[in-house]
Each structure stands twice: as C-alpha cells, then as structure tokens.
C-alpha cells in the first residue's frame, strides 16, 4: 500500500497534465501513487492519462467520469474512492507539487498522528516575465504547529480555504464521509471547512508544498467580463451560507465571528472595488445578495474591522451608493480621504446622512481619524474624475473634483493647479506638467478642468518607462496638495489610444492607452499599434531576454546604483571623514541640535539664547529635521540634518551643543568641543545599563562606546544623574558638569519670582492660547510607549477626554502635550476646554504656565519639581512599563511626590479634590527636588557661557 495517493484531476488540459503527474513521480518520497481522474475531457487528456498509466504501471492509474461534471468536486470525490494510500492529496492538472511535499507531509502526519496536515501554497505568476511567486497566507505557516481543534486557530479556517495544499488521512475522510459538493463553484471552501471542523488533530508545516500556477490576463479586467460575475457571486454567497450552517450545527460561534470579520475585511472589498464601473441593475442585484448575507453577520465582527470596512458594510446595507463609492475608493487607497465629511455636535462623521440612526452615528464617526486637525497639505484628498474627452489623436480634456473636507479649503483661498504625468519607474526624474485652466471652489469640492496636449508634450523613453501615472497638484492658499486621480464611473474603454512620440522613436511604441489601475486610479500605458511598432516590440522583447541584454542590464543597474549611492549615508560619512574633517576648524562656530533636529528647544536653545543675550562673539548653526524648518531663530544659519552643509558644519565647528546625540557614525575631531546637555534625568535604564546594549555583540558595543566617548562635557542636575546616566555612558568624572540644566533656568526664575511676590503671573503664552484667567491650567504630558519590537506605539488617550471636558471643563483648562514621537487629534467638542499644545517645540514655557502637571513616567516630572507645584501621576500601565525589558532605576511609586492613580476614574476624582489632596505632598516634593535637581540653581546657561565662550583664553 502506498503511503500517499495523489488525486490529479483534469479537464481539457492534455498539454499540462504530464508535468503535474511528473511532479508526483519525482517526489523524494518513493511510496506515492497517482490517481488521474478525467472529467470527460473533449481533448486528448484521457489518452495522455492512459499513456502515463502504461508508462508507470503500478504507480499511475487513470479514470474517466462518464459525463462532464463542470466542477472539481465530482472528479476529486471519484479519486478519493479509487485511492489506496494511507494518505490522500489533491493536485490540479495545471499545477505541480514541490519535490519534498509528500515526504514532509507524511513525516508530520506520522509524528503527530494528525488527520490533516497543511503546508504553504505558492502562487506562480506565469504571465510575469520572471515567474514571480507569492506565498499564500505565509503568516499562517510561519512555524510548525499542531492544533487539537480548529477552534485553537480560527484564522486557518477563515483564510486558508484551499483543499489542495493539504494531506488527509484517507480513513479519516471515509469515516467522516467527507466529500466535495457537486454542481456549485467554490467547492474548496466548504470541503476544507468540513475537514477542519471534523479533524481531531491538525498540523501546519511552514514548507512550500504546492505551486499554484496563475495567469492574470489583462482582458479579465474588462467590464464585460465582470458582468458574468454576478453568477459567481451567487455561488459564493451560497457556499458561505453552507459553511455558516456547518459552523452553527457544531456550535462554533467564535469561528463564525472570525469568518464574518474576514468577510467584512476582505471578501466585501474585492467586490466593492469594481462597483463604480457597473450598472445600476448589477448594483441592485449585488446589494440584494450581499445584504441578505450581511444581515446574518455577528455584530461583534464589526468590532474587529477598521472604520472604513465598517462604513462600507453599513452604507451597502443602506444602498447609499453616493456615499459608498467614495468610501470604497478610500478603502482601496489606504489613507485617502474621499468624502467631504460632516461635523455634528462636536464630532466628525463620514457623511451627513444616516446620523439620526444610532448605529449610523457610531459607525460613521471618524473623529478619531483626526481629519479635522491634520494639516490640509498632509491629507491625501480624493480626486474623482468627472469627465474624460479626447480629440482622437493626442489631446485630452479632463475634469474632476477634489474633496474639500469640512470646508477646510476656504472659499477665499487662492487656487492654482497643474496636472502632472510621471513615469512610474523613475530613471532620472521624468515628469511632464500641464497647467490646469479652470480651478474653482464649489463648496465641498474643488472642481477643475484641464486640457493637455499629451501627444506632442509627453515624451517617454519608449521602453522601461511603460506606465505613467497622473497626479493633480493643487495649491490652495499656502497649502500644497498632491492627489491621484481616481477614475470612478468614467468610461475609459471607449477612449482613444493617444499617439505619442517616444524618444526611442515610434518604432518602439506608438500609443498611449488610458487605463485604470488596480486601485482605481488613472494611468497611461505605452503600447504598440502600428505594424512597425508591433514588430520592433517583439524584437525588443526577445532581445531583452538574451545574454547580451543581461550584460547591458547588469551594467545599467550597477550605474544607477552607483548614482543612488552618491547621496547615501555611507558615501556621506566617507566624505565627512576624508574631506570635510581635513579642513581647518572655524573658530567661534557652534552647531546646535535638539532632539535630532526635530525641535528648537531644550538646553541647546537656552544656551543659544544666553549667548545672544550676552552678545558673545559666535556663529550659530542650527540643525533641523524634516522638509522645512519651522520655529527656528531666523538669524542663525539653518542646516538640514544629514545634508552636505550639515556635515561640513559639524566637521569644522569649534563647538557641538546637543541634547541627544549627533549621528553616531560621525567621529568628532580633537579640535571640536562637544557639550552634551542631555535631555532629562533617567527613570528607565539607559545606555550600557539597557539589556538591549548588553545583549549586543562586541562590535556593536564598541561602536556605542566610541559614540559616547565623543562627549567632552556632560551636564547633570543631581548626583542621581552621576549614578545613573554617567555610569550608563561610562563617562569619566571630569566630563561631568554639575551646572544643572540650562533649560530649567527659566523655571527656577519663575519659582523665585512667585515666592517673592506671592502671585503667579501668566505670560504671553496664556493669551496666545486664549486661556480663561479664572480657570486653572493642567498640563498633561505623557511619555511614549514602545511595543516589544521597540516600535513606537501611536498615542491614545487613556481617559475619555470628552468626559473630562464635561465634568471638569468649567474649572480647568487641560493642555495636552504628547511626546515628540507621538501626535494627537482632539474632537471639536472639547474646543477651548482641552487644547493640543504638542506643536510647541519647547515645553519649558508650558511648564511655567501650568498650575499642575499630570504625567506618567516622562522625565518632565524631574524638571517640573523645580516649580514646586502639584503633580499627579497617571500610571495606568505601571506594571507593564516597569517590568518591560528595559527596567527602571527606582520604583516611581515609592518616590512620586504626588498621588499615583491607575484608572481614568481615579484620575478624575483626584482632580476634583486636587488642592486638599496636594497639601500633604509638599514635603515629598522638596525631597524629590533635592534628590533629582539639586544643581538646578537658575544659572546653568550663564555658567556654560562663562566657562566656554566669554572667559578670556577659555
């Protein structure tokens, strides 16, 4: 008896059958038999099968159904009945098995005793020049695992619905009476669901086992082809219904919820993408079928999908096509905002309709997306094509509408636009721009019309740059917005292919055809239409694959790589060391940087301002990160971080002043003095005390050591810093400057003034923020959180900010400042009561303004202590934070000079009774300040300036 029977089914595929069968005969496992079942083919398939049987007696057997069944179910069922092996696998005549598939499946099955072993399927794209492959749900198969029941891993049933990448114990199939359904498409979905549910043990192996050959013809995208799909959709819904029945009969509610989630996330998207192109009749029929099914979906499934997926399902349920189509466009293009939105009662909604319905309000609420606070230029606005016309030769006239969300582009804003054609593969920068003749404000959209003579203006190379994308570049007031143009319902099938003149002449390609990309956007593809062009095209295609072409392509790639490398970090570091660092040091130059150029703030700013105040002779160079510097002093020279001028400035500077670290790769020359101000006392372990650093290899540690060895001076504000930071960076004692932090000089001054006069004076910042003088100011300044992999997590309020505003908004104004690695978006409803102040680079004036501080573990607590004002610690995730991999230097709960609360409720209660509770912490605050800020005496910046810049001879 063979170990494995492989059932190979075939219908009119004589050509490929042999390869499929051969992939079984070539298996490394020898005990394998082939059972070919021909579904009554009209070509020579059965003859080929018989030939294989004759050539491999005892290993191959061929069968033929008496009539065509029209599907895969009947022949596979016949194969199961004919199989004799201990295990059964299925193979389609156009696919092949990986050479070790049977051996790996059998080994896993015998090791675990599983009824079912499943391995990874690989899709091979035959129409791709390189036969590109993609793994089918690789995350399911990331490791070997054995399940006692499918309920342990619902995603397996939900996502991997194939029957062919699996090995079934034959006795299991027979005992359970498992068969494929006949007379319906998508039979795999039901069969595999049945098998998963019935199996007593399932083993997954990460091996590639099955190569699924795929041909995606361009023609299959056309509308006429799509129209047949309603029939497929009927089949699909029917299969889904049967799977649901099976799950219900077995009481698998968790599996059903997981499956419903996937339906909302993936299946629905697939169909929605094409809706703009299809007729009303199709849409109505589609909605009838889909909504019938959606009605049975577990409401809990909506909790697991993103806002757009839920919105699409909801709007489909309402058959609200006007709002659904933009939502579907946004779903296909991640991050696109394609709806004008609506604001009601301080919340932001996807559309103005359905808001009288409670469920609609819940699902359509997109306040948390922050569309109302994100700068307009950072939004990816939808831009729908409304008409397309051409002259049949080379000139097109396009009209479209860019979404104007919440009217954020004001009617008075100056509008200007251009239409850009850009080669998708950039060899050099290749783009052509056309002015847009009319752009006008039309309420919730910006309408535009442009005429472009593409035929004589756009000059593609002809080969290599075959695909060109279309973008609209819109300037509204001072905002610059770039949008892709989505085709929407505009018919491109009847549009003319434009005549073009490639640089490599019309012999290469002669037409430019408008096309819709997979995500629904407008693009143009170069094609050959004239006889000459078609001929050369064939010639080129064959030449592109030859040996000579290989050499040319390799050299071209190498040349392009060399050009890219010229601006790469590696090259820059080399030039920095070998060229710039050889130039003489320029006396009196100081390069300042705060938080890797992200801000103009902190102690470097305080030192800079002290230098300016004293009129010290020096030349200031400030480093900035990002596209454009905002908020930096205009009189200083600004250099972009990692730019050539930045590297030149660093190499030749007399002083480096920074609070975090100039690029580790840049060595400091002996003639330069590095004043490292650092940016806060430490609660979390740092440097060589961090497990991450300890775990590093020798070279990594040596590199880090070299980087911190660059510090000539390191500012500390207490002996706590000397015990923690200085040891963590292995600094010699003479490097430490016990001056305190220059950034805190202002706080010390504010505290002294207040103590003397007995009154707290609010500065210009209070006016700027329009703060009610009768309300107390709270500053909420949490630190960031990182996941296990070290990636920074997005900021989410750990309490309900609207509840805060409602309960305490009449007594307090809450300022919210996120860590500079995070950002926040507040709902419009809390305006005036809660203010986002994250955009202020420098936190010091905010600290001085705040009557009390709420933080968690941010080092801002050490600085705020200088002011001797109330502090509240909202440590809702203390366990997680304190026990995560990094560890802390001390237990915050022991030393906190204020109440430590764990829940949002406790927080609001503590705030309500703030003053009474705070009195008892006065002493603890003094202790805290002595331990962590003893050197902050208000003259740090003056000491630094005196020591390095003004004392003669230095």
């Amino acid at each position: 008896m063979p170990d494995v029977s492989v059932v190979v089914i075939v219908y009119n595929d004589a050509e490929r059958l042999t390869a499929a069968v051969q992939s079984v005969l070539d298996q490394t496992l020898r005990g394998v038999e082939v059972v070919i079942v021909d579904d009554y083919s009209q070509d020579g398939s059965y003859a080929v099968a018989q030939g294989l049987e004759a050539a491999h007696p005892g290993r191959v057997r061929a069968f033929r159904l008496p009539e065509n069944s029209g599907g895969c179910g009947a022949p596979r069922n016949h194969g199961i009945r004919q199989a004799t092996g201990t295990y059964v696998m299925f193979l389609d005549s156009d696919d092949v098995l990986e050479r070790n598939a049977c051996r790996n499946m059998l080994a896993a099955a015998e090791r675990t005793g599983s009824d079912l072993v499943s391995g990874m399927c690989v899709r091979v794209h035959l129409d791709d020049r390189w036969h590109r492959t993609t793994e089918w749900y690789p995350w399911i198969y990331s490791r070997t695992r054995t399940l006692e029941s499918i309920t342990e891993y619902p995603d397996l049933l939900v996502y991997d619905t194939l029957s062919t990448n699996k090995c079934y114990r034959r006795a299991f199939l027979l005992e359970q009476g498992l068969e494929f359904p006949v007379g319906i498409h998508y039979e795999d979905l039901l069969f595999s669901a049945q098998a998963y549910v019935a199996a007593r043990r399932i083993t997954l192996i990460p091996n590639h086992v099955y190569f699924w050959n795929v041909v995606e013809k361009a023609s299959s995208k056309s509308i006429s082809n799509r129209r047949h799909e309603i029939a497929n959709f009927v089949h699909r819904m029917e299969i889904h219904r049967r799977v649901d029945e099976l799950l219900a009969a077995n009481g698998h509610t968790a599996l059903k919820t997981a499956k419903d989630t996937k339906f909302l996330k993936h299946d629905l998207v697939l169909h929605l993408r094409d809706l703009p192109l299809l007729s009303d009749a199709y849409r109505r029929e589609f909605a009838r079928l889909a909504n019938g099914y959606l009605a049975g979906i577990d409401p809990a499934a909506y909790e697991n999908v993103n806002h757009l997926q839920a919105i699409c399902a909801y709007l489909l349920g309402k058959e609200d096509w006007d709002n659904l189509l933009p939502a579907a466009d946004a779903m296909a293009n991640k991050g696109r905002l394609s709806s004008p939105l609506a604001e009601r009662d301080g919340r932001v909604y996807w559309c103005a309709e359905h808001l009288d319905d409670a469920e609609g309000r819940r699902i359509l609420d997109v306040t948390d997306q922050g569309f109302h606070t994100t700068p307009v230029s950072a939004l990816r606005l939808g831009n729908r094509l409304t008409s397309y016309a051409d002259d049949g030769r080379g000139t097109i006239t396009l009209s479209g509408a860019v979404v104007n969300p919440l009217g954020r582009i004001a009617p008075g804003a100056g509008l200007k636009a251009s239409l850009e054609f850009r080669a998708r593969r950039q060899i050099g920068v290749r783009s052509f721009s056309f002015p847009v003749a009319t752009v006008r404000h039309a309420g919730d959209s910006i309408e535009w019309t442009a005429t472009a003579d593409i035929g004589s203006t756009v000059r593609p190379l002809g080969i290599i740059d075959a695909v060109w994308d279309v973008r609209l570049k819109l300037t509204a007031g001072r905002d610059r917005i770039t949008t892709r143009v989505s085709v929407g319902g505009v018919d491109l099938e009847n549009a003319a292919r434009l005549r073009v003149r490639p640089r490599l002449t019309r012999l290469v390609s002669d037409r430019f055809a408008p096309e819709m990309t997979r995500k629904g956007n407008l693009s143009y593809v170069l094609t050959a239409q004239g006889a000459a062009a078609v001929r050369t095209r064939t010639l080129i295609d064959s030449a592109m694959h030859g040996r000579t072409a290989g050499v040319v392509k390799r050299s071209l790639r190498r040349a392009l790589k060399a050009r890219r490398n010229l601006g790469s970090g590696e090259q820059k570091v080399k030039v920095y060391h070998e060229v710039f660092s050889k130039l003489p040091v320029r006396k009196g130059t100081v390069v300042f940087e705060s938080h890797m150029g992200k801000q103009y703030s902190d102690s470097p700013k305080a030192i800079y301002e002290e230098l300016v105040r004293q009129g010290a002779p020096f030349e200031a160079i400030w480093s900035y990160a990002g596209a454009r510097p905002t908020g930096f002093p205009p009189e200083a020279t600004l250099v972009k971080r990692w730019s050539w001028p930045y590297l030149r400035a660093l190499a030749r500077a007399e002083y480096w002043v920074d609070n975090q670290g100039f690029p580790l790769a840049l060595a400091k020359r002996p003639g330069t003095t590095y004043i490292q101000t650092w940016h806060g006392s430490a609660l979390k372990r740092m440097g060589f005390h961090e497990p991450r650093t300890k775990a590093q290899g020798k070279e990594g540690q040596a590199r880090f050591q070299a980087a911190v060895d660059r510090f000539d001076h390191f500012l500390i504000r207490s002996e706590h810093d000397a015990r923690t930071l200085a040891k963590a960076f292995r600094l010699r004692d003479e490097v430490l400057l016990r001056t305190g932090y220059p950034r805190n000089d202002a706080l010390v001054a504010a505290q002294r003034e207040e103590a003397q006069s007995g009154e707290r004076v609010r500065g210009p910042l209070a006016t700027e923020l329009d703060i009610d003088p009768d309300k107390r100011v709270l500053l909420y300044a949490p630190t960031f959180r990182a996941g296990a992999d070290g990636a920074v997590e997005g900021f989410e309020f750990p309490f309900d900010v609207e509840e805060f505003a409602d309960r305490l908004g009449d007594r307090f104004t809450l300022l919210v400042r996120t860590h500079y690695l995070n950002s926040v978006s507040l709902p419009p409803s809390v305006a005036g009561r809660v203010i986002d102040v994250s955009r202020y680079h420098d936190i010091t004036p905010l600290l001085a303004l705040a009557d009390a501080l709420i933080t968690d573990y941010s080092s801002v607590m050490f600085d705020y202590a200088v002011l001797d004002r109330p502090m509240l610690f909202f440590a809702y995730d203390y366990e997680r934070y304190a026990t995560d991999i990094r560890g802390t230097y001390f237990d915050l709960k022991e030393k906190a000079p204020g109440p430590v609360v764990a829940t949002a409720d406790e927080l609001l209660q503590a705030l309500a009774a703030f003053d009474e509770a705070d009195a008892k912490y006065a002493e603890a605050r003094q202790r805290f300040l002595t331990e962590f800020g003893e050197y902050d005496r208000g003259d740090a910046a003056r000491q630094i300036v005196a020591k390095f810049f003004t004392r003669s001879g230095k």
Binding site: T28, T144, P206, K694
Partner: protein, 391 residues
C-alpha cells in the same frame, strides 16, 4: 520500529563524515559519541575526517575505538579563495593553485566513493559539517541515504559564511538536520525544503539528582565574550549582597579571563566569586552546586545546560536561542530571562537561592525531563529517521 528496521541484517553501514576525526570541539565529541552508540546497536560505523589537525587542536580519543577512522588528506588542502571579475581571471598562479586543489578534491572524493561502493544496501552517510559536504557532494552516493547536519543555531549560521554554504551544499541531501524544531522552521522559511531537527544526546545520565545542599551557583563554559560571563557578574552583583553565604563558582578558561577578573573586582565581588579554571569532572563539579547559571549571548544546543539539568540542578539562563527554549520550559524545569536583562536573571537567581522548595521542584522536574535526550532515546530517533528516509 525503532530498532534496526531497515538495511541488511546485523545493522547498517554508517559513515560519519566531519572536517576531521579528532579536532577539539563539540562536533568531534558528538561524532564519537554517536559512533559508539550506533556500534552498540550493531551498526558498522566508519568515522571519516577530511583533513588532519594540528597537534595543539587535537582532542584526546580513547586508544581502542569499536569502529574505524579514516582521514582523506595527509596535510591540510590549500584555502579556496573566490576570484572575481577580470582581475581574478588574470590571476594565473592562483587559478593554477585552485585547479590543483580541485583535482585533489576529486581524488579524495574518489576515495570516499570506494568506501561508499563497498557498503551494503541501506547504508547512510551522515555529514556533520558543511565544509566536509563539499567532498561528499563530489563522491558517488548512489543508493545511499545522505544526511547533512548543522550543529549551530540558524542565527549563528547567518552571522558567518556558513548559511550560504549550507544552502548551496546541503540543498540536495535527503535530510538536513538542525538542532531544534524552531531552527528547522527558520531554515524552511528561508527556502530549504528538506529540513528536520535532531537534538544532541546527553553524555551522561546519573541515577539520582544532586543533593542541592551546597550554597554554590555554578557556571561552566569557555571564558569568551559570547558566553556572557560579564553579564553573569552584573547579575551576581545584584544578588550577592542579599546572600552573603553563597558563592559563584566559575569553571572554564579563555582569553577573556583577565578582563572578567578585573570586572569582577570592580563590582566588589572578589569575595563571593571563585575562579576554578577548566575541569575534567563536570558531573563532580555540578554535584557540589545547587544552582546553575548561564548568561550566554549566543548558543546552539547548549550541552552544559543539559548536563546541569541531568545532574539535577535548578537552572537560570538567558533565553538567547531556540536550543535554550527547547531544553528549558520557564517555570517548570528552569527559569529563563530575556537576553541582556541582567536584572531579570538576578531576580531568577535570587528566587532559586532563597527558595529551597522551588530549587527542588525545578531541579527534580528537569532531572526527569532531560531523559528525552538520553542516548537511548536519541539513537532510537536516528534509527527511525534512517528507516523513514528509505520509504
């Protein structure tokens, strides 16, 4: 089906091919241990080395071996050097040297082929190191089962040139064996489809666990950066003050010793740390201790950790490799800390030193559980694998 299910009666012909027969190191120890175990099961074993090694790198082997050994070269063959581009093409002397190297390889491979051809049906070639595979690949292995091995973690392979050579030279072998299932999965995801895992067998299996009465934490291993003794000392600095009656005994020698001793002194630990040098009596050393600590930055399938558990000690280690996770289940038969987190390792040591009950529970469980790596179990698995590969 574990006992001699295939091959000729009286066992199989098994060839164990390594870089050399007696090079100092784990692979040689493993080869001779397996050769002895296979011989005891009635298989005919031949241990083959490609080249001889220098005297100072030679491992002492028993006088009488119950199996034969062969070395293909009389002296080490010249190094292979990759020649690139036109410059390489014009380097005539080097090209001549390499041509003669290749000819030498073919001649040695022919020697292998002769041995293989003389084998009876069902014979198996086990290649323990990928370098040796370059010769086996040139030999005639028709009718034989070829098993390749990589005796290190996936990560360690990928930090050296060996990963690429494993991929190239082991692609066509009947099975590539790595140390753990987790490493096997990683190799499979990297595109090798013929991979399985096989753990190393325990060198000894005492009848009873250590008394665990000595207030001693033991560490055994080479004194190299990789073994993380500096991290162990950092952790010890956290716990030692709380347990003044305990000592940390460090067995092993190595290049880092002076640096480590200085680090130890700077942490003020000179009184509670004993430097014992290398030992021949591992079991004896372990039985004097109650707790075993391992702070390695990288490991494959750490035999010393296994030995400590076989001796019945409670173990605490960094979870630095799949091999460690495979041997120790945290909280059941040992305690694992995240790599580099010396505070966590210190907390584990503290728990084991403070809590006699915990020490006994983990130690006893480990003592029982490591029997899955007993030489009998592992030899059974080998025989089952050789039979499976014939199907």
């Amino acid at each position: 089906m574990s006992q001699q299910s295939g091959g000729a009666p009286g066992g199989r012909d098994i060839f164990l091919v390594s870089n050399s027969v007696d090079e100092l190191g784990g692979v040689t120890t493993w080869s001779h241990q397996m050769a002895r175990l296979f011989s005891e099961r009635g298989h005919r074993v031949q241990v083959i080395g490609i080249t001889p090694v220098a005297e100072e790198l030679r491992q002492r082997l028993p006088q009488e071996l119950p199996y034969g050994t062969t070395t293909l070269y009389d002296a080490h063959p010249p190094q292979a050097r990759a020649l690139h581009g036109i410059k390489g093409r014009l380097n005539a002397p080097e090209r001549r040297r390499q041509a003669s190297r290749r000819a030498g390889m073919r001649a040695r491979a022919e020697k292998l082929s002769e041995l293989f051809r003389a084998a009876r049906p069902g014979a198996v070639v086990i290649v323990t190191q990928v370098w040796a595979m370059e010769w086996v690949a040139l030999a005639d292995t028709k009718g034989l089962t070829v098993i390749g091995m990589s005796h290190e973690s996936y990560e360690a392979s990928h930090k050296s040139s060996r990963a690429a050579r494993v991929r190239r030279h082991y692609r066509e072998v009947d099975r590539l064996l790595v140390l753990t299932e987790e490493d096997a999965d990683l190799w499979i995801r990297a595109g090798m489809e013929n991979v399985a895992s096989m753990p190393n067998p325990l060198p000894f299996m005492p009848d009873s666990p250590a008394p665990r009465t000595g207030k001693v934490v033991a560490s055994i291993g080479r004194l190299s950066f990789e073994k993380g003794l500096d991290l162990l000392l950092d952790a010890w600095a956290d716990v030692a003050p709380r347990h003044p009656d305990w000592v940390l005994r460090i067995y092993g020698a190595g290049a880092e010793e002076p640096v480590l001793r200085a680090h130890c002194a700077s942490l003020g630990l000179s009184d509670s740390v004993e430097w014992r040098g290398s030992t021949d009596d591992v079991l004896g050393a372990l039985r004097e201790a109650s707790v075993f600590a391992q702070a390695s930055r990288a490991e494959g399938f750490p035999i010393t950790l296994l030995e400590a558990m076989a001796a019945g000690l409670a173990v605490a280690a960094f979870d630095c490799a799949p091999g460690v996770r495979e041997i120790v289940t945290h909280g059941e038969d040992g305690l694992l800390a995240r790599l580099g987190n010396t505070m966590e390792l210190a907390a584990h040591l503290d728990a084991l030193m403070s809590d006699r009950g915990l020490r006994d529970r983990l130690g006893d469980t480990g003592f029982r559980r490591v029997r899955r790596y007993s030489s009998a179990e592992i030899t059974d698995r080998w025989e089952a694998l050789m039979a499976f590969l014939e199907r």
